[in-house]
């Protein structure tokens, strides 16, 4: 059996007349770590948001963990249980404590008991190194701590795939490292990860494959060394020149 975490075939997405994703084909192996980069408006965030259907697609097929997302029924719910997501702006629930943020979805969606959900939550808060913040509200935490809570919250659903949508772009520079370290730990444990990020150090350290997108198309993809040292496409060469 081939262990494919995600299969995307001929995926097209439009915003009105704007063609955001053009015939995207992408296959992700289980345990693979992929970094997606590209200029703003290139469709990289849209791409990962189609994987848990935060964005519906107009045509094509997406299969996540052997569940066909586009087939309807409660497939979307099943896929979302299996796919965690971390956002640029954290999106923690401000009216709940850190612990409540972490137990809500396991209790409501996975129907886990409160005792079990809280035990799991404390375990993951420990792993992102903020167990002592469990009873605080998000506004009482720094940006880096909030993003680590967001990662723990997603992990509490015990997902098999994690999506990161520019997880460090809204952080002050001194907080970027703590979040990246958390992500690197996760990568080392074998989590399947898709990260939209411009943190090239992170890409070099953990990515199996780096993807460059421009104007809704996957322009180039390669292992990090080849990607950074021998970029083929001219637009990628320009892009790497700008962010270096």
């Amino acid at each position: 059996m081939t262990e494919k975490a995600i299969i995307m075939r001929a995926v097209n997405k439009y915003y009105g007349a704007f063609h955001a994703l053009k015939d995207i084909d992408l296959t992700v192996d289980r345990g693979e770590r992929i970094v997606i980069c590209g200029p703003s408006g290139s469709g990289k965030s849209t791409l990962i948001r189609t994987i848990n259907q935060l964005e519906a697609i107009e045509s094509g097929t997406i299969i996540v963990d052997e569940i066909e997302l586009t087939a309807g029924g409660d497939n979307v719910t099943k896929v979302r249980q299996d796919v965690g997501m971390v956002f640029q702006s954290f999106n923690l629930f401000p009216h709940m404590t850190v612990l409540e943020n972490c137990v809500l979805a396991p209790m409501k969606s996975r129907k886990v008991s409160r005792t079990e959900a809280e035990a799991t939550a404390r375990q993951y808060l420990e792993r992102v190194k903020i167990p002592e913040q469990a009873d605080k509200y998000p506004a009482q935490l720094s940006g880096g701590q909030q993003q680590r809570v967001a990662i723990a919250r997603a992990l509490c659903m015990k997902p098999r795939i994690m999506l990161f949508d520019e997880p460090t772009s809204a952080l002050d520079p001194e907080m970027v490292k703590e979040v990246l370290d958390t992500m690197i730990d996760l990568a080392r444990e074998g989590m399947t990860m898709l990260c939209v990020t411009h943190e090239m150090e992170f890409a070099r350290a953990v990515a199996d494959r780096v993807i460059f997108m421009d104007k809704g198309v996957i322009v180039e993809e390669n292992a990090p060394d080849a990607f950074f040292n021998n970029p083929v496409n001219e637009r990628l060469q320009n892009f790497l020149g700008q962010i270096a």
Partner: protein, 218 residues
């Protein structure tokens, strides 16, 4: 024979306050249920539903409350129900309050950042759980002050029910005035009673608005 405006007359007017309160409570509770439905419909994913709710709001915001009262009052007879001023007033004010509260709460729901709903969706929460645990608790905080403000409008609005013959505060005043011919005194008393009902609520609304503003700027 002209009656004096004595304590008995004052008592008659004061006792009518309860009908103003009962009517306000029915309209507010009914309007809260209807308003929640309208607000959820108005923010739903379906374009058809959104348009329907918008149409409802426009009809009730675009016509005078008095016409709504008349239409429901005489409409009851058309659909074969007995003409009953309390029923007519309760139905008309409930519809009216549904439209206004629906619009207030729609605004509050839309003021909750879309990232909240997205994060909840990404965590595989159902629409019901997203609304109940994530969006509505945050919208509620934004909506409290304008909702109390609307309640004041609603209490004053119940005075129009006097025109279809429902004996609440205003109608009680008219009855006493017809007997005593002391309009200034009678309607002064009526107005004072409305003020006693509404003023604390206005203060409460203003207090909550100020607290809200501090919470936002913090």
């Amino acid at each position: 024979m002209i009656r004096e405006f004595t304590s008995a007359e004052v008592l008659f007017i004061v006792m009518a306050v309860r009908w103003t309160l009962i009517l306000s409570a029915i309209a507010f509770l009914g309007g809260a249920l209807g308003g929640l439905l309208i607000a959820l419909t108005r923010t739903s994913a379906s374009k058809g539903l959104r348009r329907m709710a918008a149409g409802f709001i426009q009809v009730f915001q675009g016509t005078p409350l008095l016409m709504q009262l008349f239409l429901v009052y005489f409409g009851l007879a058309v659909v074969g129900l007995p003409i009953n001023p309390l029923l007519a007033a309760a139905v008309a004010l409930t519809l009216h309050a549904s439209a206004y509260l629906g619009e207030i709460w729609r605004g509050a729901i839309e003021a909750v950042p879309s990232g909240q709903s997205e994060a909840a969706s990404a965590l595989s929460l159902s629409y019901r759980d997203r609304m109940r645990h994530v969006v509505l608790p945050q919208a509620l905080r934004l909506a409290i002050a304008p909702t109390v403000g609307f309640l004041v409008q609603l209490i004053k609005g119940t005075s129009l029910a006097s025109i279809i013959g429902f004996t609440e505060l205003t109608r009680a005043g008219q009855i006493i005035n017809n007997a005593t011919f002391q309009p200034f005194l009678v309607f002064g008393t009526v107005a004072a009673l409305y003020f006693i009902l509404c003023w604390p609520l206005s203060l409460l609304a203003r207090h909550m608005e100020a607290r809200m503003r501090r919470a936002i700027t913090r």
